[in-house]
Every structure is written in structure tokens, then in C-alpha cells.
């Protein structure tokens, strides 16, 4: 009898080919993705390099040798000037532009070699008279700052002192975090609220989109479409509901973040509303599209699990994109997660002006438009035959 039950389920699975394939494909896709994100052999060196903006305000030989040492360090990707895509040479970083680059997230960390650096000799032991450098860090990338601090000491030893590397500090590093609300107990809260929020938004949109499939399966959709409700109106109505649901989920997520983790909502409300609206619309149309594509509830679950988990992994909902290999970071931009998270980060973390949100708003709105149009087209299959 037990085997009969098992056999019945196997038959069911066999008859739903999409679900059958996905139950084997999903784990393999994930295995591959996480392999790529957390670094296989191919991307390891790339992954570990820390991008650093270096400002040299001192003309001394000691400062030159120190910077040259930094540039020779394999673990660092030293930028003396903002990188330009068209190949034109840009003016070297200044303390102000380097700080702006960290604020904008272009680099996770900046190093300023101040004027007068070369006037003090490098020496061991406790002393207030050691050369000083300034390290400007973005606390949302805690690894970069730590790695750089360590490498700076090594460079100092090898490039300046000409002595074997020891544990003692040779330079005084003045570290300053240029971003982040002082009230926030955890600098990653905005990231997690946005990242996890978007992931669960997608899950719940896909689940709620399943109501449409239920209506198809029970014949209720037929009944609805014989009334004054057209397919276009029906989908638009569902979009309104799903967007409301998604927006309220994000609101609850961020309010919880502010209550429990000290995330500051004050001063961020307009940006929050803008990003929440775009994100909710994009996630909702994603749910509608999946429901329109799927032929059964079982298929919807299989397809949405695959799509949502892949999008969330690649788009940075589970693991920050800036810590991924460069290629994966670019792939991430194909997901709505990445755009939504970037937007929320701009609002809550980098506190950029609202006008800077335009790329995220534009992309998320475009995604919503494309998804809705596609869902509407595919839903023609349910209209009068």
C-alpha cells in the first residue's frame, strides 16, 4: 500500500514534466551559482583584490615609495584617479573626490597620504611621531577596510623600512567611516531589509499570482470573464492588490528594522516611498507573469522557486553583490533584486539625493511595464476561444 502511494506520486511527478525537470535542475543551478559567487579557482584572485582610491598629498620620496608599494601589492587594485570608460585621463583623486567615491560606492575604501607624510621616519614601537595616513571606509563593506589596513602595514615594511615584516605597527592609520547613521547598530541593516524584503516580495507575489491559476482550475475565471470584467481589467485589479501587498510588506520590514535595529526612517521617507512603489510594481508584475506562464499550481511553485532563488542569489539578496566576483556583479544587473537593493542603499545608506535614484526607478518601471505587457499577452490563452 505504501508503495502504491509512492508510485502514485511518482506518476504525478512524471506527468508534470516541468516540475520533474526542475526538481533536478534547481539544485544544480544553485550549486553552480554559489560556486561562482563564492569563488571557484577562476575568479579567486579577482575576488580578493580590494579596490582602493589613493590620494597622495605629499611629494616626498617616502610617500612616492609607499604609493608605489601599494600599487605593486597584488591584493590591491589601486586607483589614483577615477576610472573612465572612454579611456580619457582624469584628474587624480583629491581628499574630497576620494571621499565622494567611497560615499557613492565606487570604491569601498580610500587612502589619503597627507602632506608631511615623509617628514617622519618609519619606526617601531609606541610613538606619537610616526607617519600618519587616513583611511576612509564604507562600513557596508567591512572586509575591504580590514584587508587594506593589513596590507598597508606590509607595504610599509617592505617598501619603506626595508625590514622583515613584523607584527608591530609602523604607521599610524586614522580610520574614518564616511557613511552610515550613527544610530544604526548594524550598518548592514538597510541592505538586509532591502535584500531579504525584495526576495520575500517575489515569493509572495508568485504565491499570490497563483490565485489566478486557482481561478482557472476551478472555472471561476470563466465565470468572471462572462461578467463585465475583461482580462485586462482582471489583471490590472490583481496588479493593484499585489502591489499593495508588496508595498505593505516592505513597509513592515523597514519599520521592524527601525524599531529593532535602529534603522532611521526619518528623512528617508520620500526615497522609501519612491523605491517601494517601483519595487512593488516590478515584483507584482513578476508574480502575474509567472502565473500566466504556468499551467498548473505545481508548475508555478517549481518555476517561481527557481526564478526567485536564482534572482535573489545573483541579484544580491542573499549575499552583497559588491563582494561577488566582477562578472557576477554584472550578471546581477539582470535581476530586479539588484536594482531595488541599489536604490534602497542609495536612500538609506549613501543618503544620495533623490535625483540619483533615476536609473533604479527607470529600470524597475521598465521591468514592470514589460512584465505586465507579457503577462497580458500570455493571458490571451484564457480569453474566448
Amino acid at each position: 500500500m505504501i508503495f502504491a502511494v509512492a508510485k502514485n506520486r511518482i506518476w504525478n511527478l512524471g506527468h508534470d514534466r516541468a516540475a520533474f525537470v526542475l526538481s533536478y535542475v534547481v539544485p544544480i543551478v544553485f550549486f553552480t551559482l554559489f560556486g561562482a559567487i563564492f569563488g571557484g579557482d577562476s575568479g579567486r584572485d579577482e575576488t580578493r583584490k580590494v579596490r582602493v582610491a589613493v590620494v597622495r598629498e605629499d611629494e616626498s620620496e617616502q610617500a612616492r615609495r609607499f604609493v608605489a608599494g601599494l600599487q605593486a601589492e597584488k591584493g590591491l587594485d589601486v586607483l589614483m584617479a577615477p576610472s573612465s570608460r572612454d579611456g580619457t585621463v582624469r584628474a587624480p583623486f583629491t581628499a574630497a573626490t576620494a571621499e565622494a567615491a567611497v560615499r557613492a560606492g565606487t570604491v569601498p575604501v580610500a587612502l589619503i597620504v597627507p602632506a608631511g607624510f615623509g617628514e617622519k621616519p618609519v619606526r617601531f614601537g609606541p610613538s606619537t611621531d610616526r607617519p600618519k595616513i587616513m583611511l576612509l571606509a564604507d562600513p557596508s563593506d567591512p572586509i575591504a577596510g580590514e584587508v587594506l589596513s593589513g596590507l598597508v602595514q606590509r607595504v610599509t615594511v617592505t617598501a619603506l623600512a626595508g625590514v622583515p615584516a613584523g607584527s608591530a605597527s609602523l604607521l599610524e592609520i586614522e580610520r574614518r567611516e564616511v557613511l552610515g547613521d550613527k544610530k544604526a547598530r548594524n550598518p548592514m541593516i538597510a541592505f538586509y531589509a532591502a535584500g531579504l524584503g525584495v526576495m520575500f516580495l517575489l515569493f509572495s507575489a508568485a504565491g499570490a499570482g497563483g490565485a489566478l491559476i486557482e481561478e482557472v482550475e476551478t472555472g471561476t475565471l470563466d465565470r468572471i470573464l462572462s461578467t463585465r470584467v475583461s482580462m485586462g481589467r482582471l489583471l490590472a485589479g490583481k496588479l493593484v492588490y499585489l502591489s499593495w501587498l508588496a508595498a505593505s510588506q516592505l513597509l513592515v520590514m523597514f519599520l521592524w528594522g527601525s524599531l529593532v535595529f535602529g534603522l532611521t526612517m526619518r528623512g528617508h521617507w520620500i526615497g522609501f516611498v519612491i523605491m517601494t512603489t517601483c519595487t512593488a510594481l516590478a515584483a507584482s508584475t513578476f508574480g502575474l507573469l509567472l502565473a500566466a506562464i504556468s499551467r498548473s499550481r505545481m508548475q508555478l511553485v517549481a518555476i517561481s522557486n527557481l526564478a526567485v532563488l536564482v534572482m535573489s542569489a545573483v541579484g544580491g539578496s542573499m549575499f552583497p553583490r559588491f563582494l561577488m566576483p566582477p562578472l557576477m556583479q554584472k550578471f546581477g544587473l539582470l535581476t530586479l533584486n539588484a536594482w531595488a537593493i541599489d536604490g534602497f542603499q542609495k536612500v538609506f545608506w549613501r543618503e544620495e539625493p533623490l535625483t540619483h535614484l533615476w536609473p533604479q526607478v527607470l529600470v524597475l518601471t521598465a521591468i514592470a511595464l514589460v512584465f505586465f505587457t507579457l503577462a497580458r499577452r500570455i493571458a490571451r490563452k484564457w480569453e474566448a476561444a
Binding site: 476551478t218 472555472g219 470563466d222 465565470r223 462572462s226 461578467t227 474566448a384
Partner: protein, 308 residues
């Protein structure tokens, strides 16, 4: 005024499958037209065409002079599908609100219609329960109210009594009678012959996508069977093959223990049947002679039982 429903030479195919092969029908206000046919005869396609859910390939179909997909058609037409097409998690009140609103009602008229319909279907005291928790009969009644809440003048009823107990069925018959009294024209499909005989003013039999007979019960019986009467013999044991052959030669059919014959001359034919049973030594439990019913008409015209 245009007829509630006028169908002429309606055709529809799905790929190589012909569902409707030139159906012609009409329906007058306050009339109940029973649509009978074996499974796959084209009933559902016909009903769905009237509901605007199937686009016919050819022929004409109008509701009060309007095409079924006209924007004004949904207000005139109601549809009670065979399945319980309701939201099980919602209450009866919420279900009626949903379908009333979808059918164009709003505000006070909608609220009034909900209250009236809840009391009409006897669910006023269950208005706030979950629909999924209602009994089968209650769900059926709510299913009807969801299709009639907006006061349509033409109602499509697709097997509205499937799976309900006799008591609930009586109640539904009462509701259908009330709708008829209000002047609603009904296109009514059913698998229950007695239901069709009891409720319908006229009956149309559809098979292979064609209306093969239409008229009142009496008209159908007379035109198909004349004055013939039905002889039914209930045998004590299954009819043995030898006797079966003999009965077949007399024009009677045997199915298990039941033998049927449409008799032109009942006294003579009954004598012959009894003689055949006697010769074969088969015992008879019961014998009845009845005026021919719609069931025989259906069997004769389609070669199948209605519930096959």
C-alpha cells in the same frame, strides 16, 4: 422586443473536432428550455458560446438582439456554471458582493441585492460563515445566486443540481420556478430526465453538435414514439443468452436483469414476452406497462442513456 436568445446555424470546431454543427434554437421570455444530450454532444460549447466564452465559427447568436460579447450583454445574461465557481475562503456575503460588483452593481442597489439574495437562498443566517464550510446544497444555491444577483433576463443554468440531496434539489426547483415567474428565460442543461420533464416548457435534444429534436415533452414523445408504450420486465436472475436472443427477435432489449420493449400492441407483445420467459424457465420479479417517457425518446434518438 428581441428574443432573449436566438441562435441560428451556429457552428464551432476545435481543431478537427466539431463541437457545434449548425445549432438553431430560440428562447422566449419566461420560458425554460431544457437542453439534453449525451456527454460530448456539444451542450457545454453551446452554453459557453451564449456566455461569450466561446467564439463561434459561423451562424448567428444574439441575446436580446445583441452579440454575446457586446458590452451590454453581461447585464442581461446570468450564468450558473456546473462547477461551484465561488471563493471558498470568502463568506456568502463577500462572494455575492464580488459577483454583483463584477456584474455592474454598486452602492445601495448592490447591498440590497445581496440581502435579498441571501434570504432568497436561505443563507441569511450563514452570511458570515466561510463558503467552504457550507453544505453541498447551500453552495449550489449560492452558486445560483452569484449568477442571478444582478437580475439578468436570460439565465444559463448548467446542471445546477449535480450532487445535491433530494431535499436541496426540491429547493433549487423552487428557485428555478421563481425565476421563471419573474420572466427570466432559462437555458437549462441537465442529466436528470425527471428534472427536464418537470421544469422545462420545451426540451431540445442535442447530439453530435446538432439539435436532433425539440418541442414540448408531449410533442417529443408523440413524434418519436407515436402511441407506443413501454413494457419493462424485471427478471429474477440475469437474462441468459438464449432468452436474450429470443427477446431481441421480438424487438426487446435486455440489460442485466431488466428487459425493455416499446410496444405498439401491448397486450399481444406482453403475452409473447411472458411466453418466452416461460419457455426458458426464467422467473419474473416484476412487470410494468407505462406511457413512453422522455427517457425512451432520448434512447431512441441518441442510442445512449442520458447519464452515460
Amino acid at each position: 422586443m428581441d428574443a432573449p436568445l436566438a441562435i441560428s446555424q451556429l457552428t464551432k470546431s476545435f481543431g478537427s473536432q466539431t463541437a457545434l454543427a449548425g445549432v438553431t434554437l430560440d428562447l422566449a421570455p419566461g420560458e425554460i428550455l431544457g437542453l439534453l444530450g449525451p456527454n460530448g454532444a456539444g451542450k457545454t460549447t453551446l452554453v459557453r458560446s451564449v456566455a461569450g466564452r466561446v467564439r463561434p465559427d459561423g451562424g448567428r447568436l444574439s441575446l436580446f438582439g445583441l452579440p454575446p460579447t457586446d458590452a451590454a450583454a453581461p447585464a442581461l445574461r446570468g450564468w450558473v456554471p456546473q462547477e461551484i465557481c465561488l471563493y471558498p475562503l470568502l463568506t456568502p456575503w463577500e462572494n455575492l458582493w464580488t459577483f454583483g460588483r463584477y456584474s455592474g452593481l454598486s452602492g445601495a442597489p448592490l447591498e440590497t441585492a445581496i440581502a435579498e439574495n441571501l434570504s432568497w437562498i436561505g443563507l441569511a443566517d450563514r452570511a458570515k460563515d466561510r463558503t467552504g464550510n457550507l453544505s453541498g446544497g447551500m453552495k449550489r444555491r449560492l452558486n445560483i445566486a452569484a449568477g442571478t444577483i444582478h437580475g439578468p433576463k436570460l439565465l444559463l443554468c448548467d446542471e445546477p443540481t449535480v450532487g445535491v440531496d433530494p431535499q436541496s434539489r426540491e429547493r433549487i426547483y423552487g428557485m428555478i420556478g421563481e425565476l421563471k415567474a419573474r420572466g427570466v428565460a432559462l437555458l437549462y442543461t441537465t442529466h436528470y430526465m425527471e428534472e427536464a420533464e418537470r421544469l422545462c416548457d420545451r426540451i431540445a435534444i442535442i447530439d453530435h453538435g446538432r439539435i436532433i429534436a425539440a418541442g414540448t415533452r408531449e410533442e417529443l414523445v408523440r413524434s418519436a414514439l407515436g402511441d407506443r408504450q413501454t413494457v419493462t420486465i424485471d427478471s429474477e436472475a440475469p437474462v441468459p443468452p438464449g432468452l436474450r436472443e429470443k427477446l431481441a427477435r421480438m424487438g426487446a432489449s435486455a440489460d442485466g436483469r431488466v428487459v425493455r420493449l416499446l410496444a405498439d400492441d401491448p397486450p399481444r407483445q406482453i403475452r409473447e414476452l411472458l411466453g418466452a420467459f416461460h419457455d426458458e424457465g426464467a422467473a419474473i420479479r416484476d412487470l410494468t406497462l407505462k406511457r413512453a417517457s422522455l427517457e425512451e425518446v432520448f434512447l431512441l434518438l441518441t442510442g445512449r442513456e442520458l447519464r452515460e
